[in-house]
Structure formats: C-alpha cells, structure tokens
C-alpha cells in the first residue's frame, strides 16, 4: 500500500513538473517600477502555478534593444519583451507572435484607439501597450492659481511670471521651462492640426502652417523660459520655473524636488492649441516572440499579458509606477477614483490619458525623430528660421528615410 501511495505521489509530482512552463520576460524596469512588476507577476504565478515568469532586467532601453537584436540573430529570443514601436517595425516584426484573437475584444475596445494603433503592424496586432506615459503641464500653485488652458494663456502667464529683479538680463525666475526634445515640437504640431506624413508614408509633411505655428510658439515661449537640456524637475522644485511641460513619468522626481524646495505644485492637462489639446503617447509595449518559443510558452505568455491587462493588475501598475492607466473601465472604476482623491496630481494625468496620439509606424522612425529633434535645435538656437528648418527636415527625411 505504502509503495502504491509513493508511486502515485511520484507520478503526480512528475506530471506537475512536466506541465510546468517557464517563460522569460526581458524588460528595462528598475527601482519602484520593477517592484510593482514583481508584485504583479508574483500574484500571476500564484494564480497560475503551472507558469513561472522570469523577469530579466536588460539595462536601459538601448541596452535592451541591443540584447534583443543579438538574441534574435542567435534565433533564441526570450518569450516576451518590451518594445518601442519603431524597434518592432525595424527588426522584430517577422519574429513576433500575432495577437489577433488572443486578447479579448472587450479588452481591446477598452483601450484608446490611438494607443492601440501603434501596436498594429501591417494590419496585425503584434504588441500590447505596457508602460505608457504622456506629457502634462506641471505648475507651481503658489504662482499659478489656475493653470493655462490655451497656448495664448500659457504664453501670457509665462511672460508675466518671468522676473528679473536685479535687471541683469538673467531672470531670477522664469515663467516656463523648456527642454529641447522632439516631442516638444511634435505635440504642438499635432495640436495645430498637423499630419506627420502623407497617407502612404512616402513624404514627410511637417512643412505646413501647423509646423510654422508650432515652432513660432516655441520661439515665443523660449523668450520667457529657462532653456536647458537637463530634466526640469530640479529647477521646478527649486522654484526657479513656474511651469513646464514634461512626462508623467517625472511625477516622483517633481514630488521629491518640490518637497525639498518647499514648492507647492500640481499637474494640469496640456493647454489647447489651435485644433486640440492632445498629448503624445510615449513608452513601450509588450510582445511575444513566436521565434524560438514552444506553443506552451506562447500560451503561457498570452495568459500573462491578459493578466497584465486585467483590471486589478492594470490598476496596481498605474498606481505603483505613475504610468498612465489606459483602460477606460479602470479609470472610471471606484478604486481609481478613490486613488485620485488621495493623489490630486494624478487627476490631470487621468484626463490627459484619453487625449493623445501615437506616432505613425515606420521602420526608420528612430532616425526621422532624430531629424525632428535636430530641426528643433536649429530653430531654438537661432540657426534657422522655422520655415527654413521645416524645409531642411523634410528634404532630409524624404531623401534619406522615405526613399524620395
């Protein structure tokens, strides 16, 4: 009898062992972000004891991409990874598992279309939004009782708040903080009604009135701005700038810098441009590699992705990391509303989360974005007029990246 029980136990344990699936998720999350991801993953493994998810940190985004390129070249990538849209278009599209039909329709319908569009490559859903951020307005509540709601108001307030007490030409306090990176141009261009490319993406179309409006507005803002390449949370927390536009991912840094500098602050949705007040969706998505994975591993990864999208995990992820919640049902849930009551700086984040756009998908997008950044610098440093810079950028992009 004893031996029968023992045999049953051994067979049972072996069977359990055989059914165990192990998947690897390569990511670039660290610190508190990683802790939240680990907490969510631990809960997933508790609920799915047959699956083990190994979270593998692969450095910053650049390092992660390099590791993925090497792994795909070796034909042995991880089961899952984080991706920027242009990485997928440039290198990983054929290696990824199509997710059409694997994510419930009601979940996909719950995500903003603009956000989901960046996950669809040539008509196939290959990735799912993961750590998404967007731009918002940070403002010093002691200086700005009501945040600006239009470009004009922003310009006027920034000018009024710029103070040069000793008259040495360098203001002691600036109304605005300006950091030159491509998104500072692209979101304004979009708000002015611009389209980045023509329909078949053979031409860049930023050399329009919208482009000129966006660059001219930035030039006007620069007059009353602290202009620097470093992150602006420091000068904002020290009370040196009254407002700035930055990623929601910067909230923890602003909070600490402001606490240290004794500055009271809040966030607001972006001031509206001539057409809309949309912000850009930034951050990465997650996808599953069909290459080098077994059907069991792929199935386990699909279960994990669906868990990440589940209301509980999505809520915890947004709360724990500061990334935007992007499921409509989660944002309207009582739990999220209760959380907003605790943290008012996230109210604007929630509102902005549904007013956004994603960049169009193109395999050369990384380089195209770089040209936009270069163009912005030429204008802000006074080396070109907005019209000249736009023409220059369009000719470079059309000739070098769009095959014109």
């Amino acid at each position: 009898m004893k031996s029968v029980v023992l045999l049953t136990l051994v067979v049972g344990i072996s069977a359990l062992g055989l059914a165990q699936v192990e998947i690897e998720f390569w990511h670039a999350m660290m610190g508190g972000h990683l802790e939240t991801l680990e907490m969510i993953t631990a809960r997933f493994m508790e609920e799915n004891p047959d699956i083990t998810v190994n979270l593998v940190f692969k450095g910053g985004y650049g390092d992660l991409n390099m590791a993925l390129i090497a792994a795909v070249a070796a034909g042995d990538p991880p089961t899952m990874a984080q991706f920027y849209t242009d990485w997928v278009a440039a290198a990983y599209q054929p290696a990824l598992l199509p997710l059409d039909g694997l994510i419930p329709e009601d979940v996909l319908n719950d995500i903003p279309e603009a956000l989901l569009r960046a996950c669809i490559f040539d008509g196939t859903l290959l990735t799912i939004p993961f750590n998404k951020s967007t731009l918002i307005l940070y403002y010093n509540t002691a200086l700005v009782p009501e945040p600006p709601t239009t470009w004009e108001e922003l310009r006027e307030m920034a000018a009024a708040l710029t103070v040069d007490e000793d008259g040495d030409g360098t203001p002691e306090r600036f109304g605005f903080g300006l950091r030159p990176y491509p998104e500072m141009f692209t979101f304004l261009f979009w708000q002015a009604g611009g389209q980045f490319f023509n329909e078949d993406m053979t031409e860049c179309t930023i050399n329009t009135e919208a482009g000129v409006q966006a660059l001219n507005f930035l030039l006007q803002l620069k007059e009353v701005s602290l202009f620097q390449r470093g992150f602006l949370s420091g000068p904002f927390g020290a009370g040196r700038i009254a407002m700035y536009i930055g990623s929601v991912a910067g909230i923890p840094f602003v909070a600490r810098a402001a606490e240290d500098g004794g500055v009271s602050w809040n966030t607001a949705v972006l001031p509206k441009g001539p057409v809309n007040n949309d912000s850009i969706y930034m951050g990465t998505d997650v996808g599953i590699f069909a290459m080098g994975s077994t059907p069991e591993e792929r199935a386990a990864a699909v279960r994990y992705i669906n868990f990440l999208l589940s209301p509980w995990a999505h809520l915890e992820w947004a709360k724990g990391t500061g990334y935007i919640p992007f499921r409509h049902s989660v944002i309207t849930s009582a739990e999220w509303q209760a959380y907003l009551a605790e943290d008012p700086t996230r109210v604007a984040v929630t509102e902005q989360a549904f007013h956004g756009f994603s960049y169009p998908i193109h395999r050369e997008f990384f380089s195209i974005r770089g040209v936009w950044g270069e163009m912005l610098e030429y204008v802000l440093l006074g080396e070109m007029t907005p019209e000249e810079a736009l023409e220059w950028a369009v000719s470079v992009i059309n000739e070098e990246y769009l095959g014109g």
């Binding site: 660290m30 090497a70 070796a74 002691a142 420091g234 810098a257 606490e259």
Partner: protein, 353 residues
Amino acid sequence: MATVTSTGRLRTAAGAGVYLVRRLTWRTFAYAVLTAGAAIMLLPFAWMLSTSGKTLGEAMRIPPVWIPREQVMVEVAGEELPLYRVEVAGEVRQLALLERTGAQGVFVDPADPSQRYQLPLQEAKRVTRIRFRWENFVVAWNMAPFDRYFLNSLFLAVTTSLGGVITSIFAAYAFAKMNFAGKNWLFYLFIGTMMIPGQMLLVPNYITIKQIGWYNTYQALIVPWIATVFGIFLLRQFFKTIPDELWDSAQIDGCSRFRFLWQFVVPLSRPALVTLFLFRFIGSWNSFLWVLIMTRDDAMRTVPVGLFAFSREAGTDYHLLMAAATMAMAPLVLLFLVAQRQFIQGVARTGLK
C-alpha cells in the same frame, strides 16, 4: 664670480640670477597649470562625494549646491513645522510655516503660537543648516543586491585580470624576444583588432556564447576576457627594453626559455605587469554591457548593473547614484593607492599616455 653649469658653460652671478628667476617663473607657471588641471580632474569627484550626502532637490539645483543642508524644523504645539525667515512689519523674524493657501502661507511664532501671520510664500526664506545625509549610502545599498554585485565584480575583476596578465606575458615574450616567420604581420594583425568597436562584436560573440552553452555562466564573463591585445602590446614594449644579452648569458648557463621568462623577464617587468593588472581590473570592474547581455540571473550581475537602479526615463536619483558610485569606486581607489608607485613606473617605461 662665475660658476660652471652642468653643461660646462660659464655663468656669471647676474646670469645666474636671471636663470634663477626664469626657472622660478617657469616652475610657478608649470605648477599653476598642473594645479588647475588637477582641480579640473578632481571637480567631478568632489561633486560626486558632495552629492552623495544631498537630497535629490539639492543634487539637481543650479547653480550647484556644494555643501548639503537641511530645512530647520521646530516643534509648535506638538507638531514639527519648517522654519522660515520672513519680514513682518519691517522686522526680520524666524517663523514656522503652518499651512499653505495658494500663494500665501500661514506662519506662526514658535515661541508664541497664538501669533499668526498670513504672508506671501515667495518672500519667505527657508532657515537651513549643514547636514550630510549618510543614510543615502544605506538607502542606495539596499536598492539593489549590492553585496552580491560586489562579490561578482571582485571575482570577475581578479580572474580576468590575472588571466589577462598571464596570457599577455607569453604572447608578449614571443613577440618581443623570439623570431619566427610572419612575426611582425601577426603582431600587426593583433593590433588591428583593437580598432574593431566592441559593439560590432557583441552579436557574433553572443551567438557563440549561446551555442557553446555558456549563456548565464561565469565562463562567459571570464574566458573571452583573459586574452588582451592591449596587454600583449604593453608587455611587448616593456620586454623589448630588457637587453638581449641577458638571454644570451642565461643560455650559456643552460637556462630554458620558460625559466628565463619566469625567473628573469617577469620579475624585471613588475611595474608593467602591475600596470596591466590595474588596467584590466578597472576595465572589468566597469564592464556593463557584456555582463548584461550574457547573463539572465540577477545573481550573475555586477556593480555597474546595480548602478542602473537609480535611473529612470524621466530622471535619475543623483544623490543615491552618487552614493552608490562612491561605494563602487572605493575599491579602485584603494587598489591604485596600493600600487601607485609601480603603476607610474609602468606607464612611464612603456610610453603609455
């Protein structure tokens, strides 16, 4: 009166005076330039040490804060409140900030809490005192498994440095003291490989490591790094300064090449070997991308990977990063101090810059 200079030329007293002034001027100038250079080199280190004791806000402030300070708090009716310097009716007073209401703040006198003043926050200056936050080191240490990372870094640095020195001794000796067909071409080929950027080799090396089953093992982190072209070049230059007559004499006494290498060449080359060991050690200690790509488990990772714990896409915890960087740099500084004399000799004699 005239004196004879070391070059045999006669110098008068007046000439000696001019010479002395010139020499003094030149030396003063040289030392001034060197001091300025040293200060420029030391500035980032000073900022690193200073920042390791700051708050995040202080670390990011422009113009930079060199001495960390903290807000002075006072107890008012059982509550800890920040102390501010404010002007009330033309008199500068130190009051505690009770609450903020938009651009205004409600201030109270700590000595007499019944006295309250509503004043503009912009005009209030915080009262601070010097404070170096030693706790940053503890927080930084606990943000990643640094104990494991330090052990790994130490193990890898010692093994790859020793391995690199040993293989370089053999190859450098062959290139410096032996004659064989194609020696120079082979040496140029070796040197030529130094011009290939490491990133270019990352993908093929990753494929190789995967195919031989070394992914996520210490072999992957050690074996590829125990051959070093730079080391071969460095030691070859040094070995060439050892007279060939020494080998001729040793040969007459029946000494084998191997014995000559270990009993004569290696002891005579101590400065160069120490220099190479130090260079390898620093290189391995700072190695990041290779370790990150060739390993999966956190238990295999090293200190530079741990330093990533303080960076995010929207900012960096500079105060904690600098505390961790100070800890990460300490073993290298210690090693340099111990081997300083040999290192300088090695650099001087091999013509390295």
